[in-house]
């Protein structure tokens, strides 16, 4: 029976679900007995139409979201995920351990172009640099891997290398514990989503976008300016600076403000006195020295590279982490050669839109200039190793 004036759907709902005091029984209502097969109610609704309607809404919103980001200047690209890093790292296990590996921070990631390197050196290096991250943990990881016997270019961005800061440090752990599910997830993402969707970038994630709007500043709390999207990545982590940083003056100004905010802010608590800073720098050099010694004992050829920086970033590095107290000590302690951009005219004079990374065109030119220098150092170490072996015989 349907009461007068009540729609059938509502009536059915009341009858089935709104008996006074009624809540579906659960195991908590039946102590000390064998629990029966659960009952699951299906609310009387046109669920097929609802699901298809929801799918239409989902597609419309997603299309609008994708359009918004494309209009912003984004294009589909590959995610700089831990899975992508692990995929490249596994190339060493899969027989490419005798090749060239690039480690470092974002400067090696953005500035060293794999195609140009390959054209000159005859092999495409494995790109393992991680943005915002000291390469020292990666050095230690490679030192512990007997499969790696090749050539190693180590990028030195002073602020990261000598502080040990590791924004992406979990990538190494991810590589070691990555299960089949995570590997297949990365495989699917790389083939089904990343090449087609511009919005599918961590920088455009909904919470990230909402939380970095212009919210009122809480008294006593320093305004946080997280780093914005700066790069575009290829399938094997070949990376260059995002075109918007080069071509959009407002966006370039924003990226500079982010750096200034970081450079002019108070140092983190573990680096807030000269003594603490010196201790941290010494620790990082010690760690690097040990890792490099292990690598060299296995025959790995290693070269340090200090990519260029300009403007406020360069001024900060010279002031807080001067070359004599960091780079020179590193080379002296490890006994290794280094390629510092200050020492080579061909590594100078490039355009760095936000003071830290080269434009895409200049990254190509820089790689063309850098590769022969690095190759020369690798070959010199190989000749020295051969000479030592011959002398020992």
């Amino acid at each position: 029976m349907v009461p007068d004036g009540t729609a059938p759907r509502e009536s059915l709902a009341r009858e089935r679900f709104e008996r006074p005091g009624f809540v579906r029984l659960t195991a908590s209502d039946r102590p000390g007995v064998a629990q029966p097969v659960p009952e699951r109610d299906i609310p009387p609704q046109p669920w097929r139409r609802i699901v298809f309607g929801a799918f239409a809404v989902f597609l419309l919103l997603l299309a609008a979201w994708e359009g918004y980001w494309r209009d912003f200047g984004a294009t589909p690209g590959y995610r700089n995920s831990n899975g992508a890093w692990a995929e490249q790292r596994r190339r060493i296990d899969a027989g490419e351990g005798g090749g060239t590996v690039l480690v470092g921070s974002s400067r090696v990631l953005f500035d060293v172009q794999l195609a140009q390197w390959q054209a000159i050196a005859g092999e495409r290096p494995i790109q393992l640099a991680l943005e915002g991250t000291s390469p020292v943990p990666v050095l230690e990881d490679l030192a512990a891997d007997p499969n790696f016997t090749g050539r190693l270019l180590v990028g030195v961005a002073p602020e990261l290398f000598f502080s040990g800061f590791a924004y992406r440090g979990e990538a190494i752990a991810h590589y070691h514990r990555q299960g089949p599910s995570q590997r297949s997830g990365h495989w699917l993402s790389k083939r089904l989503l990343e090449p087609y969707f511009a919005f599918y970038d961590p920088d455009f994630a909904l919470p990230t976008v909402l939380l970095r709007q212009d919210w009122p500043l809480r008294p006593g709390l320093r305004q946080d300016m997280p780093v914005r999207k700066l790069m575009e990545m290829g399938p094997d982590r070949d990376t260059h600076i995002w075109g918007k940083v080069e071509t959009d003056p407002d966006y370039r100004a924003l990226t500079r403000r982010v750096w200034l905010h970081r450079l002019q802010g108070p140092p983190p608590p573990m680096l807030d006195t000269p003594a603490k800073l010196q201790k941290v720098v010494a620790t990082q050099i010690d760690r690097a020295t040990k890792a490099v010694a292990t690598l060299r004992a296995r025959g790995v050829r290693v070269v340090f590279v200090r990519p260029p920086s300009t403007g406020a970033y360069y001024a900060f590095e010279r002031k807080v982490l001067p070359r004599a107290a960091t780079w020179d000590v590193l080379l002296q302690r490890t006994g290794l050669p280094g390629i510092h951009f200050e020492d080579y005219p061909q590594l100078q004079g490039y355009e760095l839109p936000e003071w830290s990374h080269l434009t895409r065109a200049d990254a190509k030119r820089y790689t063309v200039a850098l590769t022969p220098l690095a190759m020369r150092e690798f070959e010199r170490q190989e000749r020295a190793a051969t000479a030592t072996t011959t002398a020992a015989r």
Partner: protein, 472 residues
């Protein structure tokens, strides 16, 4: 694999298609069994062996138990099941904890002993499936249930992927009978199951991982300083929302996934933040665990049938062990102990004021008090150790004056909005079911909500974070 992953999307689509093909029922069950093993092996393939051990031991123990003539023999087969299951759980989950505490005990007695570095990897979901298989043997031992008719049905009960790694903790009597007859989801079940999965993933990916988790992490980070009152409360409230959305989101997704295949799974949550009192809270939070502990621990310990002292002992012992079930750490024991204490005090008050019937305002006040006290316990659940727990608690009660602010306005606002929304929703739903509410809505806003939730899941781009309860 986790529900919030691309791998699961593809896996589940394949399982759905296979399950709807015109194949024999036994073939479909074998398909589900193989799929469930794949689901588990996707984390760490060797650990499938543990599932097999648990399955085989309990299958044979129950079989022998039923045929045993002597009580001692029945008892022995039951004990075998208990020892093997708890032995596996003890080794993998508590091995390091026990040796570390043993070493500390020896050190307090002046004996220096360095425990060997065990480096044990915790098999995901081991606490859940060992409890599920234990309930099979125990129900048969207690003569509450009969053994499964065939090994395939039993193995599928243990392994069925929707409940395998994080519950709801199913009893054999809830699931095994569902395998007796061919099951295929009706159109309504399939579509409503998809709606539930969307809701569950929205809770997990958007609310728990996207907004609440990072705020809780900022306050509970070892790098964060001592929080002031606002940060300590907001960080803890964020965690209260995060753990609910994470775990209830998992349960809802699991129930939806099972429904898409034509199976029914029990409720695991019933709007717990609308609980008035702690016995009410435990009838609403992780229902299948609290009911399991009640049936197989609290009642065997004496329950409430042997006088007040024995009741309080059983209550506290059950909650302390329930706390330890969550993790091999003394902070979890304190979390469980606090809940045991709350339950004991509530019991004493109910006895003392047996005739008291609170009015609506008092009910609301008592509900808020319950929620506040639950949040105190979450501090121990979330903190890395007692040091951090005390620091946060001190902050919550104004004991860190002059503390530097931690959370940004954006975080404070989103946490306040989401947590308030959760609590209000729980209060509005406290005497109803989700289905009752959905039945009364117009289809158009339902479709719009579901579409928006699905979009939010995609736009949040969850990074496949594991569910919190996987570690338990």
């Amino acid at each position: 694999m986790v529900f919030n992953s691309l791998t699961f999307v593809v896996f589940f689509a394949c399982v759905l298609v296979l399950h709807r093909l015109p194949l024999g029922w036994t073939t479909k069950k074998i398909n589900l069994l193989i799929a469930s093993y794949l689901f588990y092996a996707a984390w760490n393939p060797p650990f499938v062996v543990l599932l097999w051990v648990s399955t085989v031991v309990d299958w044979w123990a129950a079989k022998k138990l039923v045929n045993a003539q002597k009580p001692a023999s029945r008892h022995a087969w039951m004990l075998l099941s208990v020892v093997v299951n708890l032995g596996m759980l003890g080794y993998f989950k508590y091995g390091g904890f026990l040796t570390a505490n043993f070493a500390a005990l020896l050190a307090s007695l002046g004996v220096a002993w360095q425990p060997p570095k065990l480096d044990i990897v915790l098999p995901v979901g081991i606490s859940f499936y060992t409890f599920a298989t234990l309930s099979y043997t125990l129900d048969i031992y207690l003569r509450r249930a009969k053994p499964a008719n065939n090994a395939l049905d039993y193995a599928l009960f243990v392994t069925f992927f929707p409940h395998l790694v994080a519950g709801p903790i199913m009893r054999p009597t809830e699931l095994v009978p569902q395998f007796a007859q061919p099951r295929r989801a009706s159109g309504e079940q399939l579509y409503f199951g998809l709606a539930l999965m969307t809701l569950g993933l929205f809770q997990k990916v958007v609310l728990a991982d996207g907004f609440l988790g990072p705020a809780a992490e900022d306050v509970y980070s070892p790098m964060a300083g001592a929080p002031g009152a606002l940060d300590a409360w907001m960080g803890t409230l964020a965690f209260s929302g995060q753990i609910f959305c994470d775990f209830a989101g998992y349960s809802t997704t699991a129930i939806g996934a099972a429904m898409c295949l034509g199976f029914a799974m029990p409720d695991n949550f019933r709007f717990p933040y609308a609980a008035v009192g702690f016995s009410d809270f435990w009838r609403r939070w992780h229902i299948t665990l609290s009911a399991w502990l009640r049936d197989y621990l609290y009642i065997p310990l004496g329950g409430n049938r042997h006088g007040a002292a024995r009741t309080y002992f059983a209550l506290l012992a059950t909650m302390l062990l329930g706390g330890l079930w969550h993790g091999a750490s003394w902070t979890f024991v304190v979390w469980g102990g606090l809940h045991g204490l709350y339950l004991a005090v509530e019991r004493a008050l109910r006895t003392r004021f047996a005739g008291y019937a609170p009015g609506p305002l008092a009910v609301f006040g008592l509900g808020l008090l319950t929620y506040a006290l639950v949040n105190i316990t979450w501090v121990f659940f979330r903190a890395e150790g007692f040091g951090q727990a005390w620091t946060v608690l001190r902050g919550m009660f104004g004991g860190n004056p002059g503390a530097a602010p931690i959370l940004h306005t954006a975080q404070l606002t989103t946490v306040a909005l989401i947590v308030t929304g959760i609590v209000i929703a729980h209060w509005l739903m406290r005497r109803r079911t989700l289905e009752a509410m959905l039945a009364q809505r117009h289809p158009v806003p339902l479709a719009a909500c579901m579409g928006v939730m699905a979009f939010a899941v995609a736009a949040t781009q969850g990074s496949g974070n594991a569910f919190i309860y996987f570690q338990f």
